[in-house]
């Protein structure tokens, strides 16, 4: 379908808005440094005695019970100290469940959110009745609570492992599916580079969240797993468009050196990539600023992924392509 216009294009010298191949060392240095800092974050998180994992795992992965309660505050909320709530919980006698050991409430984690308007409790895995007992016990100290404003999540310990396993499996399947598709439509070099760009994006987003976990005690949940999978899809989508243009240039201007072909293709798709990233970022930033607390870090992870993904598709992946061909020549 490109035949009819190719003759016109071959005569036109495309203006270069960005000469990528002349700055490729700088691109590699930047990407290399950022990836290194990310890996350092993952390592630090692993070495942290309180985490012992590349990322600080949240309730979805560790299992347990999380209770969120909205306090009814007419004018101002009555003064509340987290320690008072945890004292009540520590001394609570839970109803026994048939055939189950009694959960140990010795170390509850109590957090006050929104300036004391809501209360977040992190407890070991409780049954539904035991969760209710905790809420009833806390009410005299921290209540009254808004009816309908409470949420109780209980995740069994086995569920977290399943979630982790199914996320990893689906990520691997998605990777190989994408690699197979690109190998089929382009060739194996493009598939390999698309995966390099993808691994680069995922590593950086993970690294940032590892640092956040070490510094701000931020935990990753199942939504974070979703965001990584989305970033993977987005990153490849972004890279493929640039590759498509490089392939087109290598057909239309086969006599030019490859680095010039790549430069021309990247320049031609630059506006598109920036516009697309911008328009994808707009709703995500709207979610960050106006969305509920549930989606706050999810949107941040996605926004970060979009920024990193654009960088890897307009700078990293094409510049690596030029390296490949020169070493072959």
């Amino acid at each position: 379908m490109t035949e009819e216009s190719s003759s016109a294009q071959a005569g036109t010298v495309l203006s270069l808005r960005w000469s990528l191949s002349s700055m490729r060392h700088r691109v590699w240095l930047i990407s290399g440094l950022v990836v290194l800092i990310s890996l350092l974050g993952l390592l630090l998180s692993w070495l942290d005695p309180g985490i012992r994992a590349p990322l600080r795992p949240g309730l979805d992965f560790t299992g347990g019970t999380q209770v969120q309660l909205e306090r009814r505050c007419d004018d101002a909320c009555a003064e509340l100290k987290a320690i008072a709530v945890s004292d009540v919980i520590r001394n609570l006698d839970l109803p026994q469940e048939e055939g189950q050991p009694l959960p140990n409430l010795g170390a509850p984690r109590v957090q006050l959110l929104d300036g004391g308007q809501s209360l977040l409790l992190r407890l070991p895995t409780l049954s539904a009745a035991q969760g209710q007992a905790v809420i009833e016990a806390v009410e005299p100290v921290a209540g009254p609570f808004l009816t309908g404003g409470q949420s109780v999540d209980t995740i069994g310990p086995s569920l977290g492992k399943q979630l982790l396993r199914s996320s990893l499996i689906s990520l691997l399947v998605a990777f190989s599916g994408i690699a197979a598709y690109i190998s089929f439509r382009y060739d194996r070099r493009y598939a390999f580079l698309a995966l390099v760009a993808l691994a680069h994006d995922v590593a950086i987003v993970c690294g940032v969240f590892a640092w956040l976990g070490v510094l701000l005690q931020l935990e990753v949940d199942s939504l974070f797993a979703v965001s990584l999978l989305t970033i993977a899809g987005y990153s490849v989508n972004d890279t493929v468009v640039v590759f498509d243009r490089i392939r087109e240039r290598s057909k239309d201007a086969a006599d030019l050196p490859l680095s010039l072909q790549v430069d021309q293709a990247v320049s031609a798709t630059l506006t598109r990539t920036l516009y697309t990233s911008g328009t994808t970022l707009l709703p995500l930033l709207a979610l960050v600023f106006f969305g509920g607390a549930t989606l706050y870090w999810f949107a941040i992870a996605l926004a970060l992924g979009v920024v990193v993904g654009s960088w890897s598709s307009i700078a990293l992946a094409p510049s690596l392509l030029t390296l490949w061909d020169r070493s072959r020549d």
């Binding site: 909205e70 999540d153 599916g177 468009v241």
Partner: protein, 493 residues
């Protein structure tokens, strides 16, 4: 041109149909948006069955379905997830305690005769059991009210523990009492004959208050023919003796009764019986629900309970809607500023895109959750990308001095391959997420996948049709509607 008018009519018809469909069929909202409880149970292999297969899941689901219906929560749904899990959703339910109890029990009901020559010991143990239980309940109540219970008679506790062969190592006095109860229960079970009939032979179960005490309830049972016969034989064998008829549920004695000598000749016939074991209206109802549902072929464990309040849900939906709409408004503004006439056309096409998306959600139906909304917002980003790709190509063609109509056609066909590649790779990840992921991930993959498929359609059909349709008006057919005049090549060049 007539060809594009035909397409235009089709797009218009689809839009009207989607709009009318949406008005009639409301969207299904997930529990995170409307509030309610969600319980996940896992079916565990037991006995001869080492792997839980599809057949076992069917059998377990059938039983749980009946139990859930017995609970009477409107619009509750029970779905199989993965190989061995079931997810129960109870919209609007704030206290999942009862549901968790009803789901989790095996509910194996057994009728067993007491072994001969164990009368005295059996009676003694039952007496001990009710004493210990009364003490334990009293202490639990006191602790709940914040009072400090009186210390136990430790000598008596010790001697009882020794008689039963317990070492009394449990941490607190309450724990010791619970341990005692457990031991008594298992000793009681040892004194029973194997089951003569089980809940399988039950036809119906009901409940009624006791005549002399309306606060205490009993559960009524009706057996089938085979069960009635077995029940008659069972009662006949112990009638007039001191041996008791024991009723156990999940290996716990819930009731024991003597059978009078008048049944010596024929047993209790007619196939009806009652269980009176100190039930309140609520516990009687729960037992009835479990018995009606039948016993589970395999044990299940409640592994996840999520409850979210309705106002929290409403807050979530309001905020996400505000975010989505403001994000879209910004995108629309950007498109018009950056691409002029085609930008405005793209905004129309994207509005149609959003409409089609919602209609498909209602049609399939897709239950909208928070991650689902996020997937939708992200798919809008990809839909915009398709339009941006096309318009950038059109601009390129115009800059080269091509005519407007030619530029539009070339723009679409040149952008086609990268749009298809980009969308298909996203679709591959969506498929992996949907078929291998769980819960939240699935909802996200579903909306993103639908969005990507529809985006292919709207970008390649709606935008093109609308653009070509508008090009039919000479007033709009001007290159300056696409590009600032300064960027156009001068006619002489």
């Amino acid at each position: 041109m007539a060809r594009y008018q035909g397409w235009f009519a089709l797009v218009l018809a689809l839009a009207i149909a989607a709009g009318m469909f949406l008005v009639r069929t409301p969207l299904e909202l997930g529990l995170d948006l409307r509030g309610g409880s969600q319980l996940t149970v896992e079916v565990k292999p037991a006995g001869d069955i080492t792997r839980v297969g599809a057949e076992e899941m069917e059998a377990v689901k059938a039983v749980l379905d009946r139990r859930v219906n017995g609970l009477g929560v409107a619009e509750s749904t029970l779905q199989t997830v993965g190989e061995s899990q079931l997810v129960l959703q109870l919209p609007g339910e704030q206290d999942p305690t009862a549901a968790a109890r009803v789901l989790g029990d095996t509910a194996l009901l057994e009728f067993r005769a007491q072994k001969p020559d164990s009368e005295a010991e059996f009676r003694g143990l039952r007496q001990l059991r009710s004493q210990v239980e009364a003490i334990l309940r009293l202490r639990e109540d006191q602790i709940r009210r914040g009072e400090i219970p009186e210390p136990l008679d430790l000598d008596q506790l010790k001697s009882t523990q020794e008689t039963l062969g317990l070492d009394g190592q449990a941490s607190s006095e309450e724990e010791q009492l619970r341990e005692l109860l457990k031991k008594v229960d298992s000793d009681l079970l040892m004194m029973l004959e194997p089951a003569a009939l089980t809940g399988k032979q039950l036809v119906t179960a009901g409940r009624q208050p006791l005549q002399n005490n309306p606060n205490s309830w009993e559960v009524t049972l009706n057996f089938d023919g085979e069960g009635a016969e077995a029940f008659a034989d069972l009662t006949k064998s112990i009638a007039g003796t001191d041996r008791l008829l024991a009723i156990t549920l999940d290996d716990q004695l819930i009731s024991a009764a003597s059978v009078g000598p008048q049944f010596k000749s024929a047993g209790i016939s007619g196939g009806a019986a009652t269980i009176s074991g100190n039930f309140s209206a609520e516990t009687a109802r729960e037992l009835e629900v479990k018995l009606r549902g039948g016993s589970l072929p395999l044990p299940v464990e409640v592994i996840e309970v999520r409850t979210i309040g309705p106002t929290l849900g409403a807050e979530n939906i309001r905020r996400s809607l505000v975010a989505a709409l403001s994000g879209l408004a910004l995108v629309a503004l950007f498109m018009v500023v950056a691409y002029r006439l085609p930008g405005a056309v793209a905004v129309m096409a994207l509005s149609l895109y959003a409409l089609f998306n919602l209609a498909v959600y209602a049609l399939i139906p897709v239950t909208l959750t928070l991650p689902g909304i996020a997937g939708f917002i992200l798919s809008i980003g990809m839909a915009v990308d398709a339009n941006v790709l096309i318009f950038e190509r059109i601009k390129d063609e115009l800059r080269r001095g091509n005519t407007l109509i030619r530029s539009i056609d070339t723009g679409f066909s040149e952008a086609f391959s990268s749009i298809v590649d980009g969308h298909l790779t996203t679709l591959i990840s969506c498929a992996a997420l949907f078929f291998l992921g769980t819960g939240l991930v699935k909802g996200f993959a579903a909306t993103l996948g639908i969005g990507v498929l529809l985006s292919l359609f709207t970008a390649l059909t709606c935008t093109r049709t609308l653009l070509r349709f508008l090009m039919g008006y000479a007033g709009l057919r001007r290159a300056s509607n696409f590009l600032p005049t300064g960027q156009l090549p001068s006619p002489t060049a």
